[in-house]
Amino acid sequence: MNDRPNGAELLAAARVALLEELLTDLPEQRRYLARMVANAMAIAARELELGDGIDRAELTSLRRLFQDPEPDASEEMAARLEALNRRLCVEIRDGRFAGGAEEARLRDHLRRSLEARVAVSNPKALGR
């Protein structure tokens, strides 16, 4: 399916209409809610555009972290991502990755995957 405008483009157009045409007609005390609506639309649009790539990159990075060679094609990406993240949580809590190169590798993985997700939720927070 490649209907244009796609989902992200529709959200972007709707957001412009909300902020540039509707917002000024709203009473002052309703504008905060309208801005929240616009923010939710912006996040959703960025996720539609970037989400798959971010998930794939995170999965690749997790596999490298665990030296997990078998790319399980039968399994859905989201399920595999969830399973590896759960495993990572358990191992971190159990004290693996504490100190030295292991910890540096973990930090590197976390920084990259968190930055990718902040680029969706609030890209402004990255420019510092």
């Binding site: 809610l33 929240m36 609506v37 993240n85 540096a104 920084r111 968190l114």
Partner: protein, 345 residues
């Protein structure tokens, strides 16, 4: 039942408490407040008695979604009374309404203090001149007064026995919350694991406010007017309050003003050291800034869960669910700065 329907019972309660024949509630409006407590401004006219005349009061009671971690209104009232007696700038606590027949839930009344609390206004422009050096110092001095209260305190018995290691308790608590939510958050797990390995022994245990930050105090033309929101106060490591106050996530966009977005860190710490007579170790404050981001991330996940679970659909709560990644990333940056690892590849 709404507060409006309860006003006659409330007026009778106030009259009795103030030893007046009649208390007339002239005006009553909700105060924009937190997700946990509900605040109302009441204008009350007392017909006679020792406090005859017009009074502006704030009524504080539980909101619908009561979060289990916060203290009861009776406990919060006792905390404010203790702080008031110790000379901390708080709204004068007046009367505790423990009788559920009045409002259907516990409440207390305090004297209204005029001023601005909103973080984004204080960080940018509160609408009146603000001496930022003096404000930051005063915030440090006021926090030192809170930390001068050490256990045991007869009126604060409900706080229980202080734990010898508040940081480790907190870490365990945040893990319990994460487990209860059933969420896999490697960023938070790493932050907590790092904190567990680097938690400093507390130098002392004092009363700690636990939510001492911009947004929870009032400022007016005369400067710092009152410290609010005592619902999380507990025995703890005083450095925890310093870290929470300075944490980047509570600077309301004014990230260069490291003291709560309103002033310089050096001014805040100077005021605190002068007030407490205690030397502040910057590394310990940094540790608690890491903890601040982890704590706020856990709270944000809990708030988002109220929406995600369907219990309380709300766009504001839903958006809160997208804040934790930023907090995890900031915690990671702080950890990297505090504890650089030699081998980066």
């Amino acid at each position: 039942m709404s507060l409006a329907e309860r006003l006659p019972a409330l007026a009778r309660f106030i009259a009795e408490a103030a030893q007046a024949t009649i208390a007339h509630i002239v005006h009553c409006r909700p105060l924009a407040g937190g997700a946990i407590q509900e605040n109302w401004v009441l204008e009350v006219e007392l017909s006679d008695g020792p406090q005859a005349g017009r009074h502006e009061l704030v009524l504080r009671t539980d909101a619908l979604s009561n979060v289990a971690v916060s203290r009861s209104r009776a406990e919060e009232f006792a905390l404010i009374q203790t702080a008031h007696r110790a000379g901390v700038a708080v709204p004068e606590p007046l009367w505790l309404g423990g009788d559920l027949n009045v409002l259907g839930k516990a409440f207390f009344l305090m004297r209204k203090v005029p001023g601005v609390a909103a973080g984004h206004r204080l960080a940018k422009d509160p609408g009146f001149p603000i001496d930022r050096i003096r404000l930051a110092e005063r915030l440090g001095e006021e926090l030192a007064k809170i930390h001068a209260l050490v256990p045991p305190q007869p009126d604060l018995e409900f706080l229980g026995t202080p734990s010898p290691h508040p940081a480790l308790d907190r870490i365990a608590e945040y893990r319990r919350h994460l487990d209860a939510l059933g969420l896999a958050r490697p960023g938070l797990e790493y932050g907590l694991a790092w904190a567990e390995r680097h938690a400093p022994e507390p130098t002392m245990i004092t009363l700690t406010h636990q939510d001492y930050r911009t947004g929870n105090y009032l400022v007016n033309e005369t400067g710092l007017a009152a410290i609010l929101d005592w619902e999380f106060a507990d025995w703890g490591d005083p450095d925890a309050d310093l870290g929470w106050f300075c944490a980047r996530c509570w600077r309301f966009g004014a990230v260069d003003r490291e003291a709560g977005g309103v002033g310089a860190r050096a001014d805040f710490i100077r005021g605190y050291e002068r007030g407490s007579g205690r030397h502040v170790e910057p590394g310990r404050v940094r540790f608690w800034e890491v903890m601040a981001h982890l704590r706020w991330a856990v709270i944000a996940l809990q708030q988002a869960d109220r929406h995600v679970s369907g219990r309380e659909p709300s766009l504001e709560l839903a958006l809160t669910g997208r804040i934790p990644v930023e907090l995890e990333l900031e915690a990671l940056r702080l950890i990297g700065a505090a504890d650089p690892l030699e081998c980066v590849r």
